[in-house]
């Protein structure tokens, strides 16, 4: 196609939108910069052991955040493992299987979960779910499958599994709603053609999933983002003990929960710097995780969305 000159309105719009995008990008970089500069003292004090060490002792002082990094990744992985399949399936249900009149109300019902305040999830998790885990579920699992190491050996109730579960519930509406929007974007013609060729609902759903790949990826990424950064709900249900073994029932701690727990009482400048460093490490972590996810799924924007 021959290159035509751009209409002035188009140029103005493109530049205008680009300006906003640039401003937002700069804000993100500003956040990273402010975090980094306040965390600098802690990094100078502890060096790389801030991220690799396991000894978090503000009195010593010694700041090793590895258990928190581990906890962030572990609890988020559990959350994603639960919420992504369920979210995609529910989205498929809402777009392919549910009777037409039911789709909107069901969709709103799932989105209702998005309106529950984080702190309420934490309270529900701690006062209602944790005792059930502690008294019923965890002992039962250990009695029947305790030889599998991933379960661990203790039954405190709060811990990685509960945190992952609560996170999964919290990110489910995001993943479902955005996946549903992505699936709605699959061209009608494609689906009708598939049905015309005699495909079953499942087979049509499969092609829709493939077509909506970029949008589904966005849904999962936003869900993951929320899980990685969730603060208050996790604080109440993860136990906040610095463990770093791959055991579902163990208590743990995340970067965000530790920051939230200790910042209110911290007055020593070095400790405050170390807490901000946790935020900075989390920021870097999300960059790495998101980059990794992209490499695995390949450049989503190349495929037709």
């Amino acid at each position: 196609m021959a290159k035509r000159s751009e209409h002035p309105t188009d140029r103005a719009t493109r530049l205008g939108l680009g300006l906003v995008a640039a401003a937002v990008a700069m804000t993100v970089l500003a956040i990273a910069y402010v975090l980094g500069s306040h965390a600098w003292d802690a990094f100078r004090f502890a060096g790389t052991s801030l991220a690799t060490g396991s000894d978090w002792d503000p009195v010593e002082p010694s700041f090793g955040a590895w258990p928190f990094i581990f906890g962030t990744l572990f609890s988020s992985a559990i959350a994603i493992a639960l919420a992504v399949p369920i979210g995609f399936l529910v989205a498929l249900f809402l777009t392919e299987l549910a009777p037409r009149w039911l789709r909107s109300p069901l969709g709103i019902l799932v989105e209702l979960l998005a309106g529950v305040p984080s702190i309420v999830f934490g309270m529900w998790g701690f006062f209602y779910l944790a005792p059930k885990m502690h008294e019923t579920f965890e002992p039962w699992v250990l009695a029947h499958a305790g030889w599998i190491p991933i379960f661990g050996e203790v039954t405190p109730g709060v811990g990685f599994l509960l945190a992952g579960l609560v996170l999964a519930i919290m990110i489910l509406p995001t993943i479902t709603a955005i996946s549903r929007d992505a699936l709605l974007g699959v061209p009608r013609l494609e689906r009708e053609a598939a049905y015309a060729l005699g495909a079953t609902r499942w087979e049509v759903a499969r092609t829709s999933l493939r077509s909506a790949k970029a949008g589904l990826f966005a849904a999962a990424t936003l869900g993951l983002g929320r899980a990685l950064g969730e603060t208050i709900a996790v604080t109440l249900v993860i136990g906040n003990v610095a463990h770093s073994k791959l055991r579902l029932f163990d208590q743990g701690a995340t970067l965000a929960s530790t920051l939230a727990n200790q910042v209110g009482e911290a007055s020593d400048p070095l400790m405050l710097s170390a807490l901000i460093a946790l935020g900075f490490i989390l920021f870097l972590l999300t960059l790495v995780v998101n980059l990794g996810a992209r490499l695995v799924i390949e450049r989503p924007w190349r495929k037709h969305a």
Partner: protein, 368 residues
């Protein structure tokens, strides 16, 4: 899109209406448990905001309501989100007063040279446990035993060290689960301050956890919970557990409480009266300096509870706004006099008279 304008106007109106109708809280008939009203100082009018200690939080809420009822022109708000935050905010003059479980540190004091520390409440940090076998008889513990439990060197309830202090009591052969705070807390600071004084293994210099709002707990079988209610709830649902909890909370959870041995050799329960006695004794022993900073842990006296916490309100002596200065003074005067009647019913220890006199002198300085 035009359809959105109507609701936007409606919501905007609601918001503005709220701004406009900022009538002072109507003075309803004071409920029976609030303090008798101080004669309202005519013309007091100011907005005061405070931040800090969660230990003071519950009673601060009662004080501000009672004082506000008597002085409708004064609006006091308080956010209980941590002593450290409160101190930082008052240093930067972003709030008018801070509630704090600890005085300003040396570094902080350097940034706030005109700080006044007004002690307002005290309370016991209780050692609560869940051992059904013991029933109603309180377990006796001393500093060394408590330290050993939280250091992890005592791991069973029927350890000889515990049995030695509790003659005639049958202790179960069960593992101890230690419950600690997962969030930074003034309660932790007081508890570790006490252990630091009574056991040579505790100080950081000797390889122990040391003193702080957040410490690293060495005991292997440790569970952490968020906030006093979290600790209380965890102890309640975990048999054979033990933890430390602020006095205003333990009653609610109906937890078993230990009686702790003080320096006079008596085993004392953590009642408000025992905390007051500790504070009195600490003052007499000059544990508080002229600025009223100090610690009431491990105080002498037969009736003293050894793990007693004190909380202060920290304010600037120099005030730029005369109205705020007047309101602050009146509020603090109320807290230290009529307001103290609210202490004991809410499981806090009232300030002894000797301390009130000294604190009054400090309050008089505000605004000068």
């Amino acid at each position: 899109m035009q359809k959105l304008l109507i609701p936007i106007f409606l919501i905007g109106a609601l918001v503005l209406a709220g701004c406009a109708s900022n009538t002072p809280p109507t003075a309803t008939t004071p409920p029976s448990s609030s303090a008798t009203t101080t004669p309202a100082k005519d013309g007091l009018a100011a907005d005061l905001s405070g931040e800090g200690s969660t230990f003071v939080g519950p009673i601060m809420e009662k004080w501000r309501v009672a004082f506000g009822n008597a002085n409708p022109g004064v609006h006091i708000s308080y956010l209980a989100d941590g002593s450290g935050k409160g101190r930082a905010s008052v240093i930067g003059s972003r709030v008018d007063f801070a509630g704090s479980d600890a005085p300003l540190s040396a570094g902080e004091a350097g940034n706030m040279t005109d700080a006044l520390h007004i002690p307002v409440v005290a309370g016991g940090v209780l050692v609560a446990y869940n051992v059904p076998d013991l029933g109603k008889t309180p377990l006796r513990l001393d500093g060394a035993a408590i330290a050993s439990i939280f250091l992890g060197t005592i791991t069973k309830w029927n350890d000889p060290a515990i049995a030695a202090i509790n003659p005639g009591v049958t202790l179960p052969n069960k593992d101890i689960t230690v419950v600690v705070r997962s969030d930074g807390s003034g309660t932790t600071a007081t508890f570790t301050d006490y252990l630091n004084k009574v056991d040579a293994r505790w100080p950081k210099a000797n390889g122990g956890p040391g003193v702080g709002a957040t410490v690293k707990w060495p005991a292997a079988s440790t569970t952490a919970a968020n906030g006093n209610p979290g600790v209380g709830s965890t102890i309640q649902t975990t048999t054979y557990s033990v933890g430390y909890i602020g006095s205003d909370w333990a009653d609610i959870s109906a937890l078993q409480q230990a009686v702790v041995k003080n320096t006079a050799g008596e085993f004392v329960e953590g009642t408000p009266e025992a905390a007051s006695a500790a504070l009195d004794a600490a003052l007499k022993a000059n544990a508080f300096d002229a600025d009223l900073k100090g610690s009431a842990t491990n105080a002498g006296g037969a009736n003293s509870y050894p793990i007693t916490a004190v909380s202060w309100v920290i304010v600037h002596q120099h005030q730029s706004d005369a109205n705020k200065a007047a309101a602050l003074k009146a509020f603090l005067e109320y807290i230290l006099h009529d307001g103290q009647q609210l202490s004991t019913p809410n499981k806090y220890a009232p300030m002894p008279t000797s301390l009130v006199t000294k604190a009054d002198a400090l309050i008089a300085k505000i605004g000068s």
